[in-house]
C-alpha cells in the first residue's frame, strides 16, 4: 500500500467523488480486488479514472493501473508525478515512433503481475456522453492472456460534470454500472463484439436525461 496515494484518495479524491459529484453504483461486486483483470470503461471526462479508482478500498489502490496517453499525462513534471505516483498510470505511446516496439507490453506486464488494468477502449474522451468506436487493444490483450476477465463498465454523468475542454466542474450525480466479465472469444472481432454487446446492455440500465 502506497501511503501517499492512499492519503490523497482518502482526503481529496473520495470527498470530491462521493460528496461533490455523488455516485450511483450498480454491480460493484463485479469488480475484483485482485488481478489479473482488465477494467474496460467508456471515457467522457477527466474525472473517469479517479472516479473508477475510488470504487476500490484504499489498500487495493496500488494494484490498480490506468493506461493513459504518455504525450498528455507526462507532458509536464507536476502532472507526470501525479500521474505516476497518485494514479499509478501505465504510459501509452500514442504516436508510436518506434515501429518495432510492442505497444501492449507494459500493459501485459501488469496482468502478469496479477494486477488490475483500467483501459478506455474509446481511446480518447471524445464527445461527452456519446459512445464512440472501441479500439481493439482489450481484445489483443485478451488474446495473449485468455484467462483474464474483461470487466465492462458503463459510466454516465461525469461528462456532464466536467466535459472535454472545460475546466468548470458542475456537480451532477454519476451512474456507474459494472457488468459481468467478458472473456477471450477466439478472435479479435468476436471478443470486441461480446464487449460491445455487454456495454450496450449496461447502457440501457441508465436513464439518460437529454443534454445537448
Amino acid at each position: 500500500m502506497k501511503l501517499v496515494q492512499a492519503l490523497v484518495f482518502f482526503l481529496v479524491v473520495r470527498p470530491l467523488v462521493m460528496i461533490v459529484i455523488g455516485l450511483n453504483v450498480r454491480g460493484r461486486e463485479n469488480l475484483p480486488d485482485y488481478g489479473p483483470a482488465i477494467i474496460a470503461a467508456n471515457h467522457n471526462s477527466h474525472l473517469d479514472t479517479l472516479t473508477l479508482m475510488s470504487l476500490w478500498p484504499l489498500d487495493a489502490l496500488h494494484r490498480i493501473h490506468p493506461a493513459a496517453a504518455a504525450d498528455y499525462f507526462l507532458s509536464n513534471r507536476v502532472l507526470a508525478w501525479l500521474s505516476l505516483n497518485i494514479m499509478g498510470i501505465i504510459p501509452v505511446d500514442r504516436q508510436r515512433k518506434n515501429r518495432e516496439s510492442d505497444p501492449l507490453a507494459d500493459m501485459a506486464k501488469i496482468l502478469e503481475r496479477d494486477e488490475i488494468l483500467i483501459l478506455f477502449p474509446e481511446g480518447s474522451r471524445g464527445e461527452p456522453e456519446q459512445l464512440s468506436r472501441f479500439k481493439t487493444g482489450i481484445a489483443r490483450l485478451a488474446e495473449r492472456h485468455p484467462k483474464t476477465p474483461i470487466i465492462p463498465v458503463f459510466m454516465h454523468g461525469l461528462g456532464k460534470s466536467l466535459p472535454r475542454g472545460d475546466f468548470l466542474l458542475v456537480p451532477f450525480f454519476a451512474d456507474i454500472v459494472v457488468g459481468q466479465p467478458v472473456y477471450w472469444q477466439g478472435s479479435i472481432d468476436s471478443t470486441m463484439e461480446a464487449y460491445q454487446r455487454a456495454m450496450n446492455e449496461l447502457s440501457t440500465q441508465v436513464v439518460v436525461p437529454t443534454w445537448e
Partner: protein, 320 residues
C-alpha cells in the same frame, strides 16, 4: 453529560420530547430489523433507507441541541445541495447552461448565510427576486435562446422546490421567539419533522389499506384520497398531544398546524411524484441517477416548511 444536564435545565420539554422520538426510532428500527429477518417484502429496502436517513437526522439534531442549534442550518444546507443536484441530474439540461448551473449552486451558500445571520428580508427576497432576475439574464447572455423557456422554468422550479423550501425549514432554528412563549427553534423543528414523518407513514398505510378505485389519484399507486383523510385523522390528534411540549401554542393552534402539515405533506408528495412520473423515472426504481435518494426524503417539506414558517411567524409576532 454536562451538556445533557444543561439541556434538561434550559428546555426540559424539548429534551423529554427528543428522548421520546429517539425511543420511537429505536423501536421502529428494531421492528424493521426483525421484519427483515423474517420476510422478503419488496417495500423493505425503501423503508430501510428512510430509517437510515432518520438516524442521520436524529444524530445531527441531538448534536445540534446539545452543542449549537445552528449546526442544523449547515446540515439542511447540505441536504439542499444534494436535493438540488439530484433534481438537475434527473431533469433535461442544456450543455450551454453549464455556467448558469454553476452559478445556481452558489445560491445555496448565499441563501443559508442569510438564514445563519437571521436576515429575514434578504432570505425571503433573494431567491424569488434577485436569483430570478440574475440567473435568467446570465442564461440569455452566455447560453442559447433555443429552449430558453423550458430550461429556465426547470431550473427555477428546481431551486424553489429544493433550496428555497428547505431554507424555511432551516430558518425555524433562528426564528425569533417571543417572550410570552417558551417554544424554542429546536422544538418547532422537531414538531414539524416528527409529524411530517408520522404523516408520511400514515399516508402510506391508509393508501394501501383503502385502495378503492373511486378514491385513487392518477399520479400515484400508493397515495389516494384515503391517504389524505387517514393521515389527517392520525396527524392532527398527535399534533394536539405533543404540541404543548414543543410549540407551546394553544390546543386549536396545534391542531391547525397538524392539519396543515398533513395537507401540505400530501400536496408535496403528489407533485414531486408527478414530476418523477413525467420524467419516466417511476418504474425504474434504483436505476435512476441518485433517485430514491434525497428528493424522496424532502418532498414532504416542499410546501409544508414555507407555510408552517409563515403561520409561525404570524403567531409568534402576535404573541409578542
Amino acid at each position: 453529560m454536562d451538556w445533557f444536564h444543561q439541556l434538561f435545565a434550559t428546555d426540559p420539554d424539548l429534551a423529554a420530547m427528543a428522548l421520546l422520538f429517539l425511543a420511537l426510532l429505536l423501536a421502529v428500527t428494531f421492528g424493521y430489523l426483525i421484519l427483515r429477518q423474517r420476510e422478503h417484502w419488496a417495500g423493505l429496502p425503501k423503508i430501510g433507507s428512510r430509517i437510515q436517513f432518520l438516524w442521520v437526522l436524529t444524530t445531527v439534531f441531538w448534536i445540534a441541541i446539545l452543542v449549537n442549534p445552528k449546526l442544523l442550518i449547515l446540515y439542511i444546507a447540505f441536504i439542499a445541495f444534494l436535493a438540488f443536484k439530484e433534481f438537475l441530474s434527473i431533469t433535461p439540461t442544456r450543455r450551454a447552461d453549464r455556467r448558469v448551473l454553476f452559478c445556481a449552486y452558489w445560491t445555496i451558500p448565499i441563501q443559508f448565510f442569510f438564514i445563519w445571520r437571521d436576515w429575514r428580508e434578504a432570505f425571503v427576497l433573494f431567491m424569488p427576486v434577485f436569483v430570478f432576475l440574475i440567473l435568467p439574464m446570465i442564461m440569455v447572455v452566455v447560453g442559447e435562446t433555443k429552449g430558453f423557456l423550458r430550461a429556465w422554468s426547470t431550473l427555477g422550479w428546481g431551486m424553489i422546490t429544493t433550496v428555497f423550501s428547505l431554507g424555511f425549514l432551516a430558518y425555524l432554528i433562528v426564528l425569533p421567539i417571543g417572550t410570552s412563549t417558551s417554544a424554542s427553534g429546536g422544538g418547532l423543528f422537531l414538531f414539524l419533522v416528527g409529524l411530517a414523518q408520522l404523516n408520511h407513514a400514515a399516508q402510506y398505510y391508509f393508501g394501501k389499506r383503502f385502495s378503492d378505485p373511486r378514491l385513487s389519484l392518477k399520479v400515484s399507486a400508493t397515495r389516494n384520497w384515503a391517504s389524505l383523510g387517514g393521515s389527517i385523522v392520525v396527524t392532527a390528534p398527535v399534533a394536539w398531544l405533543i404540541g404543548p411540549s414543543l410549540t407551546h401554542f394553544s390546543a386549536p393552534t396545534n391542531l391547525l398546524l397538524g392539519l396543515l402539515i398533513s395537507v401540505c405533506g400530501f400536496i408535496g408528495y403528489i407533485i414531486l411524484s408527478s414530476i418523477k412520473g413525467d420524467l419516466q423515472l417511476k418504474d425504474r426504481g434504483s436505476m435512476t441517477p441518485g433517485s430514491g435518494g434525497v428528493l424522496n426524503r424532502i418532498d414532504t417539506f416542499v410546501y409544508t416548511a414555507p407555510i408552517y414558517f409563515y403561520i409561525l411567524s404570524y403567531l409568534l409576532g402576535e404573541v409578542q
